[in-house]
Symmetry: C2
Subunit: 477 residues, 2 copies
Amino acid sequence: MKPGHLFVVLGATGDLTRRKLIPALYHLMQRKDIDQSVMLAVARTAIDDEAYRAMAREALIDAGFNEDEVARWCNECLHYQQMGIEEGAATLATRVEELEAEHALSGNRIFYLALPPGAFAGEIRDLGEAGLNESEGWTRLVVEKPFGKDLASATELNQTVHEWFPEESVYRIDHYLGKETVQNLLVFRFANTIFESSWNRDRIAQVEIIVAESLGVEGRGNYYESAGVLRDMVQNHLSQLLALTAMEAPSAFDPVAVRNEKVKVFQSISPITSDDVVLGQYQGGEAAGRALKAYRDEPNTDADSDTPTYAALRIAINNWRWQGVPILLRTGKGLARRTTEIAVTYKPEPVSFFKSMRQNPNAGPDVLRLTLQPEEGFSLTIDVKDPTERAAVKSIPLSFTYEEEFGAIADAYETLLADVINGDQTLFVRADEVEESWRLYETLLDADLELHPYPAGSWGPTAADRLLPPGSAWSTS
Amino acid sequence: MKPGHLFVVLGATGDLTRRKLIPALYHLMQRKDIDQSVMLAVARTAIDDEAYRAMAREALIDAGFNEDEVARWCNECLHYQQMGIEEGAATLATRVEELEAEHALSGNRIFYLALPPGAFAGEIRDLGEAGLNESEGWTRLVVEKPFGKDLASATELNQTVHEWFPEESVYRIDHYLGKETVQNLLVFRFANTIFESSWNRDRIAQVEIIVAESLGVEGRGNYYESAGVLRDMVQNHLSQLLALTAMEAPSAFDPVAVRNEKVKVFQSISPITSDDVVLGQYQGGEAAGRALKAYRDEPNTDADSDTPTYAALRIAINNWRWQGVPILLRTGKGLARRTTEIAVTYKPEPVSFFKSMRQNPNAGPDVLRLTLQPEEGFSLTIDVKDPTERAAVKSIPLSFTYEEEFGAIADAYETLLADVINGDQTLFVRADEVEESWRLYETLLDADLELHPYPAGSWGPTAADRLLPPGSAWSTS
C-alpha cells in the first residue's frame, strides 16, 4: 500500500478525465493497489462538488462499476474546484491545503494536466507561482501529449517545466507505453534468450511498426490541420514503439537505464531524407464497412489542404545490432482496418532443403507479431512439415492473446496512473527523449513533400512500396 | 502414382502385420498415394487365401474402414502362401511369379521381414538362394528391429544382408522415424532460422530425450530378459532421436546426405563410461493407475534377474555445436506416465532484470518440447510479463498438436511403407549407422553396473539425478 495523496486533475471536465482517468483511479482504489487517493477535479466550468460527482458517478456506472460503491467513493474522495483562465492558482493552492487537512493527507500531490497543449506552459507557471510545485510530501506533474509541435517548441516547454519541476517529478504520458504488449516487449526480449539471441541484423530481415486506423479525422479537423500525421502519431507513438523494439539491454530495469537506451536508439538513427518518406491523404471511400468523406471534405479542413493523414517511413538505425535492417513505420487514417502491431520478419534459411515443399503457398518467412490493437497479443509464425501431404511445408502461428491467457487486463491509463502514484518513471517519456524524437522528424515537418492521395479503405498509397527492400512485402496488408 | 508392386510380408500372421502393415497398406491404396499393390502374406501356418483374407478383413474393419471396400480389396489384392521353416524359398519364388503374371506386375517387389530377429539372417539367405534378391523390376528388403544384439551381431547381419542385397535396397525400420514430430524435427530445425541460430552450445543448457512407458514388461519376459533396456530402447529409438536432434544441416535433403550427418553425430560422441549411466529395475507399485508386479515377479523373468528396465545416460557430443552441453537420455518401463519427448532447455538470460519478478514460481527457463507420445505436438515455453500483477513474469507455452492443427495424421508405419514404395531411404537406418549406434553402448551392454531398484509409478531411481548438471532439474517428471 502506497501513502495517500491528492490527485489534482486540471481540465477535469474533458473527455479524457471522464473516460479514462476517473475509472482508472477508481479501479486502482478498488483493487487496493493504492492506499488513499483524494481527487480534486479542476476546470473552468462553474459547478460545485455535487454536480461534478453526479457526472463522475455516471461515468463510473457506465464503465460497469457497482452503483453504491461508486456513490460512496464519489462522496468521500471526489471534489471539484472552479478555476478561471486568468486567475492564477492561488485559490487552487488554498483548496489543496484545505483538502489535505480535511483528509489528513501528508502533502503528496499529483497534478495531471488534462488540458489542450497550448495551455501546458501557462498552467505550469501558474502552479509554480502559487507554490504548488513543492510540498511537505512529494509533488508530481503529469503532462499529456502532444509535448510540443516541433523541436523548438518541445525544448521551450521543457525549459518551462524545469523552471518549476525537476525532471524526476515529471511524467510525460504516451499511453501506448501503458499497453501490456509494450511492457511485455521488454520482458519478452530480455527474459528469453532464444529471441534476444536472434534479435539483430544477422537474423532479422525487416522490422515493421504499423498503427492503422480505419476511422477518419472524425470532426477533429481543426486540430488535425495543425498537426498532421507526423505530429499526431509518428513522433510519439511510433517512435516509442521503435525505441523499445530496437533498444539494447539496459544496465538495470529502472527509469534512468531504460530511458538512456531509448535515447541511444534515436541518436543512432541516420538522418531521414525525403527519399525515406511517403506521405498520403485519404480520399472518399469505405473503410472497415463505413463510408468516409475525403479528408478535404471534412468539417474544419481546408478544401485544398495538404495535411498528410498517412505516412510511411524507412528508418535506418546505424548501430551494430541494426545496421542494414530496414525499419518500416506506417500509420494512417482511413485505412482498411484498425490494427497496431510490431512485426519482425526473420531472414529465410540460408539454404533451403525444402524448396519444392515451399512451392506450397502456405509457407513463408518466420514472422513475430506483437499486436497492441484491436486486441493485445503475440504470434510467432513458423514453418512446420504439413503431415497431410508427403512433402509440404506450412506456416502456422504460435500465438496467445493477453485476454485469453490472463483474463481482462488493465487499461493503459490504469497502468500509467499506478506508476505515477508509485513514482516509477520507466514508462514515461524523458525530456531528452522527447527532444530527440522531435529532432528525427524536424526536416520533414514543414518540407514540401509530395502528397499521395489514397482511397479510404485501402492500405495507403502504393507509392509507399518503394520503401520496401527488393523482393520484400508488407507483413500486414 | 507409383508403379505397381508385389508386397511380400514374411511373418504375416503376427501382430505387427495385422495391426500395422495391412491397415497402412490399405490406407495408402485408398488415399491413392500408390498405384497397384498386391500383397502376398507368407507364414508357417497352414491356411489358404480365404482364411487369411477373413483375418485381414476383420483387422481392417476393426481399424474403422468400410466393410464392402475392405472385402473387395482383400479379394482382389491379398494372397497367402504357406512356407515351412526348413523349406527354402523356392515355392515362394514360384508363387511370386504366378502372382506377378496374374496381376500383370512388372517385377517390383518388397520383402518385409516381420519376423523374430533370430530368423532374419536365415530368411535373407533363403530369399537370395531362391533368386528373389533381384528381379526385372526393383527389389527392396525391409528389416524390422532389433537389428543385431550388439556390434558383432549387427555387423554379421549386415554382411549377410549385403551378400544378397545392395545397401540401396535395404530399409531398416525404426518406426519412431515415421512419426510426424520426428520428420518435422528436420523441417522445423532447417526451415526456421530463429531456432537453428540458437540450436547450439551458446544458447542451449541441456537436451533431454525421454521415452517413458507406464507399462511393465507385459508378458514379454522371455524377450526382455535377453534384451534389457539398452538393447530394447536406447541403441535404436533414443539414439535415432538423438541423431536427428543433434545433426548438422545436411548438404541436401536426401538419404545419403541426411544419414551421413546422423553417422557423424554418433562418431562425435565421447566414449560413454559407467559414470555416465544409471540403470534401474522396477519394483512392484502402481503406474498410471494400474498395479504392476515387480519385474522379477513377472512370468519368464529370473527371480534374481539383473536385467535393467530403466536407463539414464549422459551423452557428450564432442563437436563445435554441442561441446559441453549435457545430452540426457532417459527411458524405462513402469514409470509414472507414458510420454516420449525431446526437451531442449535454453540457457537463462545472462543478466536478469526481472529477478524480483522471477520469485514468481510460475517462471522458468525457456523449454522447447517436441512430443511424440501420447500425442504428437510442439510446445515452446517462454516468459512473458504477467499483466495481472504489477511486476511478475510468467512462463506460458506456445504450442500446437498435430491433430488439432492438421486433423488425424498418418500412422508411422503408413509413412514408412509409403517411403519404401517410393524408394526413399531417408527415414531408414543405414548399415554404418546401425553399427555406429551399437558401438556407442558396446562397453555398457555386458558391464557389471549397479542396478538401482525403483518403485513402479515413479520417475526411476533418484540415483539418476547425479547425471544432471549442478543446479539443473529434469524437464519432465
